[in-house]
Every structure is written in structure tokens, then in C-alpha cells.
């Protein structure tokens, strides 16, 4: 879907931070800890992109409700990405289909990528952290 855009930029200088989210949202603090980093990079006007792979893709799925678990639902904060100019949000298509998940997300502008595209998008960043 965004392959033309990717190709045109793939030769550019890598820059910014990529954060790979690999954990499901409610049983560990990894998702929240990664989000805190993303938002601080955004507020410092540094480029940060979010990648969701493995069980991390569950963080994006629509119709979740952490309040049923008495959890403060940090997923709601994802809607602030636009405000922080966090625009590059990538999800691994293979991880979604392995988990029988539809492309039905609770935020807009999520780009569903094949493994090759996912890898290429990662490569456009200078640094990578993974949670």
C-alpha cells in the first residue's frame, strides 16, 4: 500500500528512533514504557516511529477495554500520536494473520506491512529500541 513511498525514501539517510513493540498490552508494562519514550521523543520534536510485531500487534486492535481489568488504559493515549507528530505507525501483516486478527485498529493511519516492507521501514531509522 505504501511501497512507492517507501522505495522513494529507502535510499535516504536513516534518521530518528524506531520502537518495536513486541508485547501484548495488559499483562506487562512494556507497552506503556515504550509509549512514554515515544511521547517524549515527540514532545522534543525528534522523529520516532512505532513498529508492532508479534504479540505487540494486540496493542493496536480495536474494541479493547482495559478498564474491565481495572487498568488505566494507556492504549487510549495512542490517539495523541497525531498531536505529537508521530505519524509512522507500522504493523506486521504476518503477525496479524498468525493471530487471526482483522485490520481493525483503534487509531487511524496504521500501515500494514509485509515482512520485507517492515524490515525496510525499520532500516530507515538510525536507532532501534524494542519492548
Amino acid at each position: 500500500m505504501t511501497s512507492i513511498e517507501q522505495q522513494s525514501s529507502s535510499s535516504a539517510q536513516e534518521n530518528g528512533l524506531a520502537i518495536i513493540n513486541s508485547k501484548a498490552p495488559f499483562s506487562s508494562t512494556h507497552g506503556k514504557d515504550a509509549l512514554d519514550i515515544a511521547l517524549i521523543f515527540g514532545s522534543f520534536e525528534q522523529k520516532v516511529s512505532l513498529f508492532f510485531q508479534g504479540d505487540g500487534v494486540y496493542q493496536l486492535i480495536a474494541d479493547q477495554d482495559g478498564s474491565l481489568l481495572a487498568i488505566k488504559d494507556y492504549l487510549k493515549t495512542f490517539s495523541a500520536f497525531e498531536f505529537y507528530d508521530i505519524e509512522d505507525i507500522y504493523v506486521c501483516q504476518q503477525s496479524l494473520s498468525n493471530r487471526q486478527l482483522d485490520e481493525n485498529f483503534h487509531i487511524d493511519e496504521v500501515k500494514v506491512l509485509s515482512s520485507i516492507e517492515f524490515s525496510a521501514a525499520l532500516n530507515r531509522h538510525q536507532h532501534v529500541l524494542r519492548f
Binding site: F26, S27, D55, Q64, L69
Partner: protein, 98 residues
């Protein structure tokens, strides 16, 4: 000889559920809780449901599945935490897979 198995991890991320299934006895019961709810969509669940012919009792905590937007399938009982307490004493022991 029946055991209550509390399954708290996603089989997509770890092999705990597979280990649980390898020691699962007929007459045992399984409760999916926390990230164990994701296993409703895992292929191990299909084989479990087929294997047991209804002799293994499979349960999921309703709020834990709903919070994760996971549909509860017909072969599985939707239960509350108070039911888990009851199951604790209707089985001879509890193993937590976390």
C-alpha cells in the same frame, strides 16, 4: 487425580501453553486468564477441543477476554473469578502456567 490449570500466557509468544497441554489429563480443567485468553485463537486450542471430546473442561475469565476484544467460542465456558475459586476446591491441585 484432576488438576486445575491456570493458563496466563499467550501461546503466540511463549511455549507455556504447549507445556501445559503435554501434561493435561482427561478430567482436568483449564482456565484461560490474562494473556492466556489469546490462546482461544491459537491452533493448539483447536487441537485441544478436538482431542478432549468434551472430557476436559475449558474455561475463560469473561472480563479478561472482553478487555482484549476476544470473542469467546462456544466450546469454552465464560466464567468469573469466583468460579475459579470454586474450581480450586473441586480439583485436587492447581498448576499456574505463567
Amino acid at each position: 487425580m484432576s488438576t486445575l490449570h491456570l493458563v496466563r500466557q499467550s501461546a503466540f509468544a511463549s511455549n507455556d501453553f504447549a507445556q501445559c497441554l503435554s501434561v493435561l489429563d482427561h478430567q482436568d480443567s483449564v482456565v484461560l486468564m490474562d494473556d492466556g485468553c489469546y490462546n482461544l485463537k491459537h491452533s493448539l486450542m483447536d487441537s485441544l477441543i478436538k482431542r478432549v471430546d468434551g472430557s476436559v473442561n475449558i474455561n475463560v475469565i469473561t472480563s479478561h477476554a472482553q478487555a482484549r476484544a476476544i470473542e469467546i467460542i462456544a466450546a469454552v465456558n465464560a466464567i468469573e473469578m469466583s468460579d475459579v475459586v470454586e474450581l480450586t476446591f473441586t480439583h485436587k491441585k492447581v498448576i499456574t502456567w505463567q
